[in-house]
C-alpha cells in the first residue's frame, strides 16, 4: 500500500482539477498554527458532470469553493481549468479564465447589487470583462431573463422587488452571462422553501442539459446533493473523507462519518423513520485536529486502535470510490 501517486494524468474529459489545495486561517505568517479550513484537498470535475460537496458547518466547504473560484489565495496547491493553472495565472489571464467558471451564492438577494436594476445586474459580468456593446449586453440580459423563467420587461426593476426564488433565478441568469463551462452553486437552494427549491433545482438541471454545463454543488443537505449529483465528496474538518458515485456513497458508505450523516437525516415518511431511529453521534465537529490522528476519531462509533495514531489516507475502496478510514485498509480486517 504505497501512497497513491498524484502524477497520474487525468482522464481526457477532465475539466477542472484541484490539486493539494490547503488554506489556514488565523495563524501568523510563516507558522502553521491556526485553523486548517481546507487541508490537502484533491478533486476532479469531468465535463458535463455534477460533483456534490457535502459537509456540516465549519467543514471548510465554503472556503474550498472560494479557493476553487480563486476568490481566496491558497497556502498551497492549485486549481487547473482544462489543464491551465487558474490559481497562479497572472491577473490578466486569470480574469479571462473567470469567464469559464461562475458562481451562485446562497443569499440571492444580497448577492445582487441593490443599486442596480436586475437587467444591469445580469449584464454586469460582461461589462466587467469588457465584452460586447451596451446594446448587445442588454439584449443578452433580456434573453437570459426569459431563459430562467422571468419576464424580460422586468429588467428595469430592482432586486428588492423580487422574492427569494426569483432573486435566485436572476443570480443564475447572471452566472450564465459569460457562457461559462462550470458553475459553482454554494448552498444555492438552502434558503429556499421546499416548493421553490424544487423549481430552482429543476431549472438548474434543465440548464445543464441544455448547455452541457458542469456543476460543483455545495450543500449541507445530503438529500439535495443525492438528488442532483453524479458524484459526492464528503468533507469533514477541512478534509475529504469519502468521494465516489452518488448512488454508491449513499447506499454503501465506506466512511463512518458519511454513514452517520446519512442516518441523521429525517426521512419524510413516518413508516420508515421516527425520532428514535435518528442516528446519534457524539460531540460537535469542533476543536483542534491532532496532526497524527483521524479527525473523526473522537466522535467515531467504530474507533479502534490505529485511529489515534495514524491519519488514514484517502484510498480506493472500489473503482472511482475512495474513503479515508482505517477500516478500509486490508490489514484492518
Amino acid at each position: 500500500m504505497a501512497e497513491t501517486s498524484i502524477a497520474t494524468t487525468p482522464p481526457p474529459d477532465t475539466l477542472l482539477e484541484v490539486v493539494g489545495l490547503s488554506k489556514s486561517f488565523g495563524g501568523r505568517r510563516g507558522r502553521t498554527s491556526g485553523i486548517r479550513a481546507v487541508a490537502d484537498v484533491d478533486l476532479t470535475l469531468r465535463r458535463g458532470e455534477t460533483l456534490g460537496l457535502v459537509g456540516e458547518s465549519g467543514c471548510g466547504k465554503s472556503t474550498l469553493s472560494r479557493l476553487i473560484l480563486s476568490l481566496l489565495e491558497p497556502d498551497a496547491g492549485q486549481v487547473r481549468i482544462a489543464g491551465i493553472d487558474f490559481t497562479h495565472a497572472p491577473e490578466r489571464h486569470r480574469r479571462e479564465l473567470r469567464r469559464r467558471i461562475q458562481v451562485v451564492f446562497q443569499d440571492a438577494l444580497s448577492s445582487l447589487n441593490p443599486r442596480m436594476t436586475i437587467g444591469a445586474n445580469i449584464a454586469e459580468p460582461m461589462r466587467l470583462q469588457g465584452l460586447g456593446s451596451a446594446a448587445l449586453r442588454r439584449t443578452e440580459a433580456r434573453r437570459l431573463l426569459g431563459l430562467v423563467g422571468l419576464r424580460p420587461e422586468h429588467e428595469d426593476r430592482y432586486p428588492h422587488e423580487f422574492s427569494g426564488g426569483q432573486c435566485q433565478r436572476i443570480a443564475i441568469a447572471r452566472a450564465l452571462m459569460l457562457q461559462p463551462e462550470i458553475i459553482v452553486f454554494d448552498e444555492a437552494v438552502s434558503a429556499l422553501d421546499v416548493s421553490i427549491r424544487a423549481q430552482i433545482l429543476r431549472l438548474i438541471l434543465d440548464l445543464q442539459r441544455q448547455f452541457g454545463l458542469s456543476y460543483i454543488f455545495i450543500s449541507h443537505d445530503l438529500g439535495v446533493i443525492k438528488r442532483i449529483c453524479d458524484r459526492i465528496a464528503v468533507m469533514y474538518l477541512g478534509q475529504i473523507v469519502e468521494i465516489g458515485p452518488a448512488e454508491t456513497v449513499c447506499r454503501a458508505p465506506r466512511h463512518p462519518y458519511t454513514a452517520a450523516l446519512l442516518r441523521a437525516i429525517p426521512i419524510a415518511d413516518p413508516r420508515r423513520m421516527r425520532v428514535s431511529d435518528l442516528g446519534q453521534i457524539e460531540g460537535d465537529a469542533v476543536g483542534a485536529v491532532k496532526p497524527d490522528a483521524c479527525p473523526f476519531a473522537p466522535r467515531c462509533p467504530k474507533q479502534f486502535d490505529p485511529c489515534d495514531k495514524r491519519r488514514p489516507a484517502l484510498i480506493d475502496v472500489a473503482p472511482g470510490h475512495q474513503a479515508a478510514c482505517h477500516l478500509n485498509e486490508p490489514e484492518a480486517c
Binding site: 439535495v224 438528488r227 437525516i265
Partner: protein, 329 residues
C-alpha cells in the same frame, strides 16, 4: 386516551395593517393540543405558522393584532388576560423555543443567570436554590459539566449547546405546553438528530404538549403525532402523521410531499415543483387560496372559500374533492 386538552385554539385570527388595507396572516385557525402529544404545524415561509405561535403567546407586535377567536390554556382564556397576567403565563405554563439559539439568548448574561431569571420570575426561590435547579436542568438537557458551565456566556457554546440551554429555560417551570418554532432549522443534521431526540424524550417524561413548528417534512414525519398543514394563513389539512404522509387529501399537501420526494429520493422520482408562488396576503385571491396553483382546481374553488371537511375523526381537509371522493367511494 382522551385526556382533557391542554390548549384549545378556536378560530384565531391575526391581522397586520388596518381593517381596509392589511393582511390577515392567521385566518380562522382552529386546533387542539393534547398532553403528551406532539402536534406539528407545517408550512412554507410566510404561511403564518410563526404568527400563529406568536399569537398564542400574545407576542404579536404592532401593527399586528389579534382580531378574533379564542385561546384556552387548561380552561383559562388567554386572550382575556391582562398583560401582567400574560407575563406569568409565558415561560411558566407555556415554554417557548425559537429558531436562532444565538439571538434568543442575551449575550451579556451568563447562561446560568438567564435560566435563574426565568425561574425566579415565576417562582419565589432563593438564589442558591435557583442555581441548583439551573444546574439540574442543564444536566437534564445534556449539557456536560453543568455546574462549571453555568458561568459561561452564550458565545462560549456551540449552536447545538445553545439550543439545549434554550430548551432548559423553556422547561424550567414545567410548562404544560411547549412551543418550538423551527428549533433545529439553524443546526447541522447530526446536531438536529440529537436535539429532536432530546425534545421527544423530555416531552415524554414531562407529559407536556409539544407544538412543533417547522417547514421540514422529514422532521414532521419523525416527530409528530398529529400534523396541521398551513397555507396562506389557513389550515388546509389536519391528520395523524401516518395518514398525512400516506393518504393526503389536500392538493397542496400532495404537491408538497411530491416536491420532497422529488428532492430527497433517488432520481427515479421526477422533480415536480409546484408552479407559481404563495399568494400575497395583502391581496389574497377569492375562494380557495391554493386555487391559482392547484392542478385539480374547479370553477367553484375560484369563487368560494373551502372550509375544512371531515374525512374521519382524525382527518380533515379544506378541499372540494373530499366531497367528490365521498360520493364516488
Amino acid at each position: 386516551m382522551s385526556a382533557p386538552a391542554s390548549l384549545v385554539v378556536t378560530d384565531l385570527r391575526t391581522r397586520f395593517g388596518s381593517d381596509r388595507v392589511g393582511a390577515t396572516v392567521v385566518d380562522g385557525v382552529t386546533f387542539t393540543l393534547l398532553p403528551g402529544r406532539t402536534t406539528a404545524l407545517v408550512g412554507e415561509s410566510g404561511c403564518g405558522k410563526s404568527a400563529t405561535a406568536l399569537s398564542l403567546m400574545r407576542l404579536i407586535d404592532k401593527p399586528g393584532r389579534i382580531i378574533g377567536g379564542s385561546v384556552t390554556l387548561n380552561g383559562r382564556d388567554l386572550l382575556g388576560l391582562s398583560e401582567s397576567e400574560m407575563e406569568q403565563v409565558r415561560g411558566a405554563a407555556i415554554g417557548m423555543i425559537f429558531q436562532d439559539p444565538l439571538t434568543s439568548l442575551n449575550p451579556a448574561l451568563t447562561i446560568g443567570q438567564q435560566i435563574v431569571e426565568t425561574l425566579q420570575a415565576h417562582r419565589p426561590m432563593s438564589r442558591a436554590d435557583a442555581d441548583r435547579t439551573a444546574i439540574d436542568l442543564l444536566t437534564r438537557v445534556g449539557v456536560t459539566d453543568a455546574a462549571r458551565r453555568i458561568g459561561d456566556y452564550p458565545h462560549h457554546f456551540s449552536g447545538g449547546m445553545r439550543q439545549r440551554v434554550l430548551i432548559a429555560a423553556a422547561i424550567s417551570c414545567s410548562p404544560s405546553v411547549i412551543i418550538a418554532d423551527e428549533p433545529t432549522t439553524a443546526l447541522d443534521v447530526t446536531v438536529q438528530a440529537k436535539i429532536l431526540r432530546l425534545l421527544h424524550d423530555l416531552q415524554g417524561a414531562m407529559g407536556a404538549s409539544l407544538l412543533l413548528i417547522t417547514h421540514d417534512l422529514g422532521v414532521v414525519a419523525s416527530m409528530a403525532d398529529e400534523v396541521l398543514v398551513m397555507y396562506a394563513g389557513r389550515i388546509v389539512e389536519r391528520a395523524d402523521v401516518d395518514t398525512l404522509f400516506h393518504d393526503p387529501r389536500h392538493p397542496y399537501t400532495k404537491a408538497l410531499l411530491a416536491c420532497v420526494a422529488g428532492i430527497e429520493d433517488d432520481r427515479s422520482v421526477p422533480l415536480e415543483p409546484i408552479g407559481g408562488s404563495a399568494p400575497d396576503l395583502w391581496n389574497p385571491p377569492v375562494g380557495c387560496r391554493f386555487a391559482p396553483r392547484c392542478p385539480v382546481v374547479q370553477d367553484v374553488c375560484r369563487s368560494q372559500d373551502q372550509p375544512l371537511r371531515r374525512i374521519s375523526a382524525e382527518h380533515e381537509a379544506a378541499c372540494i374533492l373530499v366531497e367528490e371522493d365521498r360520493m364516488h367511494g
